[in-house]
């Protein structure tokens, strides 16, 4: 019974991994196909790859945009994490009559499509003189991410047993120490997860990046998205190679961050 279970588990995992990866794999294939094979029926999976599409796309000089995206996404994720973790702790450690209402107010910001606040936010950023400047984007993105981190961290803080706080209090710990020495370490997996999610979401964000930037603060997502719906010659290899390039940096980032995250996860389990 045990062995059968293990085998079916492995099969299930393999199937899921395949389902998860196949679309991206096919995208990469399309990017590498020479033009002649693109419409071949049946679709070809084995062929000698051509890097021409990638070369054409990279010749446009996208490195600067990736740097901007990196700065904007990292800074906003860190700021948002700081603000929201503190706030989430306040919501879970204390009780006060207007708690539910205040919490609702905080995540209200995430309940409507971004296009809702496009015009007023655009005007606000313009007023601050931060149009086409990375800081303008950072300020706006932090507000997007805080509700996300808040919701997630609340779910984690809620699991922290009250007794831990009490015993630490008795030992003379102040509120901030309860927050930084007890609550945060225990919920680190959650914080890291929400940090990563924030980074990813702002990396891919398109609408505000488009509207709030022109040349100097242009992000990678805007630069790449501008090609994905061309009216002109739709060369699938170009489109696909752009798709791959959009994914690649985040993929690499995930690769780096993931080890960090795993360590955090095991630490959490140990402390628990």
């Amino acid at each position: 019974m045990r062995r059968a279970l293990a085998a079916s588990r492995i099969l299930a995992i393999a199937a899921v991994v395949a389902a998860g990866l196949f679309p991206i794999y096919y995208l990469a294939l399309t990017a590498l196909k020479p033009t002649g094979l693109l419409f071949a029926v049946p679709p070809r999976f084995i062929f000698s790859p051509s890097l021409e599409a990638f070369q054409q796309v990279l010749a446009e000089g996208h490195v600067r945009y990736f740097m901007t995206s990196l700065i904007v996404s990292t800074a906003s994720a860190l700021l948002a994490a700081a603000l929201a973790a503190a706030g989430a702790f306040a919501f879970t450690y204390y009780r006060f009559p207007w708690r539910e209402g205040a919490f609702f107010l905080c995540i209200l910001g995430r309940m409507f499509p971004p296009v809702t606040t496009l015009v007023p936010v655009f005007l606000m950023v313009k007023m601050l003189g931060l149009l086409d400047h990375p800081l303008g984007l950072i300020l706006v993105y932090v507000a997007f991410e805080v509700p996300l981190v808040l919701l997630i961290m609340r779910g984690f803080f809620v699991q922290v047993p009250g007794e831990l706080y009490e015993s630490a209090s008795l030992d003379g710990a102040g509120t901030f120490q309860l927050f930084s020495r007890i609550a945060l370490p225990l919920t680190m997996p959650g914080l890291l997860a929400s940090g990563v999610l924030s980074f990813i979401l702002t990396w891919n964000e398109l609408l505000f990046a488009l509207v709030l930037t022109s040349a100097r603060a242009r992000t990678a997502s805007v630069a790449l998205a501008s090609f994905l719906e061309a009216e002109g010659s739709v060369q699938w290899q170009l489109v696909a190679s752009l798709g791959v390039l959009t994914i690649l940096p985040v993929f690499l980032f995930m690769g780096a961050m993931h080890r960090f995250m795993v360590r955090g996860l095991t630490l959490g389990a140990l402390k628990g």
Binding site: I24, F39, A90, T92, R99, M111, T116, V158, P189
Partner: protein, 291 residues
Amino acid sequence: MTGGRSIRGEGAFWLLLLPMVAYLVIWRILPLLYTAWLSLADWNIGRGAPPRFIGIENYLRLLGDPRFHAAVKVSAIFMLVATAAEVVLGVALALLVNRPFRGQTIVQGILLVPMITSPVAVGTIWYILYNGKIGPLTYLVDRLGFGVQDWLGSTLTALPAIILADVWEWTPFVFLLALSGLQGIPEAVVEAARIDGASAWKVWWYITLPLLRGVIVAAAILRAMDALKIFDTIFIMTGGGPGRSTESASLLVYRTAFTHFEFGYAAAMIMVVLALTTLLYWFYTRVPQEV
């Protein structure tokens, strides 16, 4: 929520809470109020005149606007189906992968890949997959004898096709949260239950699930709210078609603002959708979260 500490005389409380709340008020709530005000105005930026106050006229117009009703319906269906699928699959995946095995971290990393793909790229990827000429899925179905299907061109299959793309993209989101939650469950508790003779199912239902509840609810709320906002993927895959069968509320809002230039009317639409979402949220919060 837990925590019964009173805030009386607690300066720390304000220091922890206020920065976040102030930030949100400035950057989310105030703009929202502006939009609310705009919903009471007639502002067509194509005609160049400034906004003109017209009271609830926009809302009355929405009541009788079949295109808006249809869009809300599309959004609602999308949200319900996609969220349900993502939560169930995400939790199942987390449970599946939670046992230690060789390559566990790599598998976990791979499973996150769809989520880090930008919505624009997701729309493109699935457009290619469904494509009649170069799509492998279409080819497969054709070989199975069903002919070349136009997934995105048929009213019956267009929305499910898009939902599938969304589920592919966002199940990892729930998976990540559920996994983090599972990792936080003390091994000792689970072991104790097992030693006591509880079956795997019992362990899952009576111990794991309740402890995961907070995380699951958070994930469901987040996904539901995000599903309501879906835009880029639909825009690229069908542009709202065939006809208007995949025109979601967010797509309609965008069209109203940037094709019809009716910013006031679009603002009213947003307020209505927001009201519906709020209702949903309050419904969700009825679900108890603690053990």
